[in-house]
Amino acid sequence: MQLVPCPHCGPREQGEFVCLGEAPAHPVSHESLARHLYGRVNAKGVSVELWWHRHGCRQWLRLPRDSATNRFAP
């Protein structure tokens, strides 16, 4: 269970959060629809993810996390 660095509440257990993963781009155009719905880069290394502090401040956070080390970038 990871500790998620919430900028509002401090480090909190992962279970308090909802992770949405890579942030899909907005707005959606006719051309970008398929990529928007199904395409994820899933890069090895640091990518910015969306986390929602559901059982805390209820804020949506953009947090950089390294998929190779499973750690949040400082």
Partner: protein, 948 residues
């Protein structure tokens, strides 16, 4: 094997335990393994696959063989503390460990190679598995589950500390001492075995807490360690700890490596450290005549421990040619025969009677030695499991022929033997450094300086050889999983030559001991079969748990505490009225129906439906999702979140609105009311009330941060009492309702009913005149009672969700979740009137446009009338076209309608609206039912009743 006690047990510590029905004298607190050895119980269980007789071979969590069955479950004998009256049975054998019918399997061992079951029963030709599986499953497995509902009295505890030290040996104690020098640092020490060697220095430190009889079973991200405590006293069986530490010192020590030869699993063949530990700690001699086989000089210290304790060591078989002078002298002084450059070829007897040894260079010149215990010392393997669990890397250390931690991982230091520093002084120095470093990392000390150098190569080196058999017979690498050296060679031969594939094919390392006994030898056999270095072969991934965790310790028996129910303000009233309560939405408790005297579900539902259609009904709809959306841009925000246009709504009115998923599917529906130009009152379905919190906050914070709007969930704040039916107005009048004079359909206004301030909306889900009365939750019980009182003369009846379901099907209303699937969009569901897809932008717009570009073949919602009007179609049944067997859709909702005197159903049917008037077949378990496709509105299609 004929173990005995070296010291008699003090009177006060004497207890009696029962093993396989036989009473045994024991010492309170010792492990059951020690009791078995002390009583000369050589055969204590049968092996996993071949049912070979097995005895105790290791100490503590290094013991691979013996699991025992107690009333509480199955436990490793070497980790089960003895208490008076303990009753244990051997496992995996019938009728007893000494005579086991299934051991005949062992005779066919040659016919059961690696992958036997897959090859025989499941291979390309294998259709036999379903036939044989029950018998194979009955033979496999270790022990049975306890029959009682709650097998263990167990607790869970959560803790935080600054430095967590795992292991109470020399390195761990040195680390805890160094880490706790700053009194502000909270230091915890986890100690696995009952015997406490905790240094006196730690006892007087208030900032140090020691957990005894506790084993760390896993390390996870972010400094989380899970540990299992088995208190030896009191009624508690286990306590599961979840400890979050700023930094961690792992000092879990090392375990001994066995040798590989024919019969190395026979009862009496043990690890030298175990034989020594039973002698020195438990004062139990494992046998009367011990022979030791070693490949390193450090093992002589353990042999000395044995001798000093009074155990007879008859001979030492040393694989090395050059034996240190001091060790040769030790053997001579104690009259121990020494066989340099010899290895064990085979062991004989059940229990062990003799061994055959041979010079490594001339295998033909065998010698036989009588013994009842063979103590193996093949060098030490660091316990790197906890280091690896969360992702720590390993490297192969040539000097000790073992994998050791490679670098620091996640504020976690390995120290002492688990870091390859086996000698006490080196281990303590390493522990002190790790303790300082961990304390510094947690912010309680200055920089720890540099790590002490690894000690110089020990004078007594290790000969890296473990397989000493002649290649015949059964030479086990993993006794716990019954995997032999030949199995591994066969796996390599058949192409499963990577260590991970070999593990899965042979199951080496997958038994309850998690490869502690055999993993390194498996890697050694694999590497030699492939002619590569062990470092190149690598090791498998270590995963938690390190030691077996009883399900009872992990499972939560808290029930209502684990998953609390949510009650509305009226749940107590419903329960007092004997309502059958259903779960709705996020664990809400809500009435399903209110059965009277001898009514069943159907009868109660019919009565409640009749009340709503002919008189009046009242329904507790409090779990309905409710939000207040406030701000200058509230209208624009709702236009974006809903595919229905809501910004042009006039204050005081509501509109039915739809929300879509990004891919165009219907996500949720509900009525949105405008209270003021900058204030909306939004209702969502009960099931999606929580999901809408996420969706609205996501839309506001991430998608449209440009909008000036606030989202306030108010589901729990408002109770929602729905009063509906042709006499609803009369009931309100009798309850002295003060509402606006021109209170038309879809209006919302504040008012007073029975003396309570309420917010009332003219909306509902039944097709009758309907008032949704929103009241503060605190006022709801009184208001509910006053309304029922006022409605008595009008036949007002409380109704549940079953009646609601029927009434909404009669009206053809969509219930999200019930009538939608993974494809249906608003058009498919017949909700085009509420989908304003010409709006600039809203969530799901592009996907809906794409759907609509190809409108053929979509699942469309239709009504279904069974030809047999008394037959209620089963929900979920497939709809077939009459001319073909292919599925064209399915029944989504179905009920008996008393109002219409027949059964009704709705379904999603491919191009359904084109088939209205036609016939379809419905697939049933016993055949086919015929139905006519109709428009999905059965009652009052013009909606005159609800507007009236």
């Amino acid at each position: 094997m004929s173990g005995y006690r070296l010291e008699s047990v003090a009177q006060t510590d004497r207890v009696v335990v029962t093993f396989d029905g036989r009473p045994l004298a024991a010492r309170r607190g010792e492990s059951l393994a020690a009791t078995l050895l002390a009583n000369g119980v050589a055969i204590a269980g049968r092996s996993f696959k071949y049912h070979r007789p097995r005895g105790i071979a290791g100490y503590g969590w290094c013991e691979p063989n013996i699991l025992v069955q107690t009333a509480q479950g199955t436990f490793p004998a070497a980790l089960l503390p003895v208490a008076d009256g303990l009753q244990a049975r051997s496992v995996n054998c019938w009728p007893s460990a000494r005579f086991d019918v299934a051991s005949l399997l062992g005779a066919f061992g040659a016919l059961m190679p690696a992958g036997f079951y897959y090859k025989t029963f499941r291979g390309p030709r294998g259709r036999l598995w379903p036939l044989f599986e029950p018998a194979i499953r009955a033979l496999a497995g270790l022990g049975t589950l306890p029959k009682t509902e709650k097998p263990l009295a167990s607790l869970k505890r959560f803790a935080h500390c600054d430095v967590l030290v795992i292991g109470g040996g020399p390195a761990g104690i040195a680390a805890a001492e160094a880490a706790s020098n700053n009194p502000a640092a909270r230091v915890w020490l986890i100690e696995a075995l009952g015997i406490s060697v905790t240094a006196a220095a730690l006892r007087n430190r208030p900032n140090v807490r020691v957990l005894h009889d506790t084993i760390a079973t896993g390390r996870y991200d972010g400094g989380l360690v899970v540990a299992l405590e088995r208190p030896c006293t009191g009624n508690l069986e286990t306590r599961l700890w979840k400890i979050r530490a700023r930094s961690i010192v792992i000092a879990t020590g090392a375990f001994e490596r066995p040798f590989v030869f024919d019969g190395n699993d026979r009862p009496g063949v043990m690890l030298l450290t175990a034989v020594a530990a039973y002698a020195s700690r438990d004062k139990v001699a494992c046998g009367r005549r011990v022979v030791a086989v070693v490949n390193n000089g450090a093992a002589y210290a353990e042999i000395a421990v044995l001798s000093a304790a009074g155990v007879t060591v008859a001979a030492i078989v040393d694989l090395r040619a050059k034996i240190e002078l001091e060790h040769r002298n030790f053997a001579a002084r104690n009259g121990i025969a020494l066989y340099p450059r010899h290895g064990v070829v085979a062991a004989f007897g059940v229990p062990l009677r003799k061994i055959r040894i041979a010079p490594l260079d001339s295998p033909a010149n065998t010698v036989e030695l009588d013994c009842d215990t063979l103590a193996m010392a093949g060098g030490l393997t660091p316990a790197v499991h906890l280091h690896s669990h969360a992702g720590g890397k390993l490297r192969f250390d040539e000097m000790t022929a073992a994998f050791v931690p490679d670098g620091l991982h996640d504020n976690c230091w390995s120290a002492g033997a688990c870091n390859g520093r086996y000698e006490q002084e080196a281990a303590e120095a390493d522990g002190r450094y790790a303790g300082r470093a961990a304390s510094a990392a947690a912010g309680f000390a200055a920089s720890p300086g540099s790590r002490p150098e690894a000690p110089a190569p020990p004078a007594c080196e290790l000969l890296a050889r473990w397989e000493t058999g002649d290649g015949t017979g059964k030479a086990f690498v993993d006794v716990a999983a019954d995997v032999t050296a030949d199995d591994i060679r066969l796996a390599v031969h058949e192409g499963y030559d990577s260590v991970e594939l070999m593990k899965r094919y042979t199951t080496a390392g997958m038994a309850p001991d998690q490869g502690r006994f055999g993993n390194m030898n498996a890697i050694d056999v694999l590497a030699r079969a492939r002619d590569i270095a062990p470092a190149a072969a690598g090791t498998t991934t270590y995963r938690p748990p390190f030691a077996p965790l009883p399900f009872g310790a992990i499972a939560d028996f808290g029930g209502a505490l684990l998953k609390p129910s949510r009650t509305t303000a009226l749940t107590a009233w419903h329960e007092a009225e004997n309502a059958v309560m259903y779960e709705a939405g996020a664990n809400w408790r809500r009435p399903g129906y209110y059965p009277r005297a001898d009514e069943n579900l159907e009868a109660a539902t019919r009565r409640e439906c009749r009340a709503v259609r002919n008189a009046a009904g009242i329904y507790d709809s409090s779990p309905l999702g409710k939000f207040e959306i406030v701000g200058r841009d509230a209208g624009a925000f709702l236009d974006f979140v809903y595919c229905t246009r809501l910004s042009d709504l006039k204050p005081g009115l509501g509109r039915y609105g739809l929300q879509l998923h990004e891919d165009g599917r219907l996500f949720d529906d509900g009525i949105v009311f405008r209270l003021a130009p900058d204030r909306f009152f939004v209702t969502t379905t009960t099931g999606n009330a929580e999901a809408c919190v996420q969706r609205f906050t996501y839309a506001r914070q991430i998608l449209r941060p440009d909008l000036d709007v606030h989202v306030l969930p108010t589901t729990e704040q408002w109770a929602d009492l729905v009063l509906c039916g042709p006499r609803a107005r009369d009931v309100l009048k009798a309850a002295e309702a003060e509402l606006p004079a021109d209170f038309g359909f879809m209006s919302i206004a504040d008012g007073r009913i029975a003396g309570h301030d309420v917010r009332v909306a003219r909306a509902g889900f039944t097709g009758e005149v309907s008032f949704e009365i929103f009241a503060p939750a605190s006022a709801a019980p009184d208001l509910w009672r006053r309304l029922l009182e006022a409605g008595k003369t009008y036949g007002l009846t409380p109704v549940g969700s079953e009646a609601n379901h029927v009434l909404r099907i009669e009206k053809g209303y969509v219930s999200v979740g019930h009538d939608c699937d993974g494809i249906a969009d608003p058009d498919d569901l017949g909700l085009r009137f509420a989908a304003h897809i010409d709006k600039t932008d809203f969530i799901g717009k592009q996907a809906v446009l794409r759907n609509r570009a190809d409108p053929d073949g979509r699942p469309e919602r239709v009504g279904l009338l069974a030809r047999d009007r008394n037959f209620v179609l089963p929900e979920g049944a497939a709809i077939l076209k009459t001319d073909a067997a292919a599925t064209r859709g399915y029944v989504t909702a179905s009920c008996w309608s008393d109002t219409l005197g027949r059964s009704l159903a709705m379904g999603l049917l491919e191009d359904g609206r084109k088939h209205i008037g036609g016939d379809v077949a419905i697939s049933l378990p016993g055949g086919i039912a015929h139905a006519t496709v109709v428009a999905p509105v059965f009652f009052d299609p013009k909606g005159e009743r609800q507007r009236g």
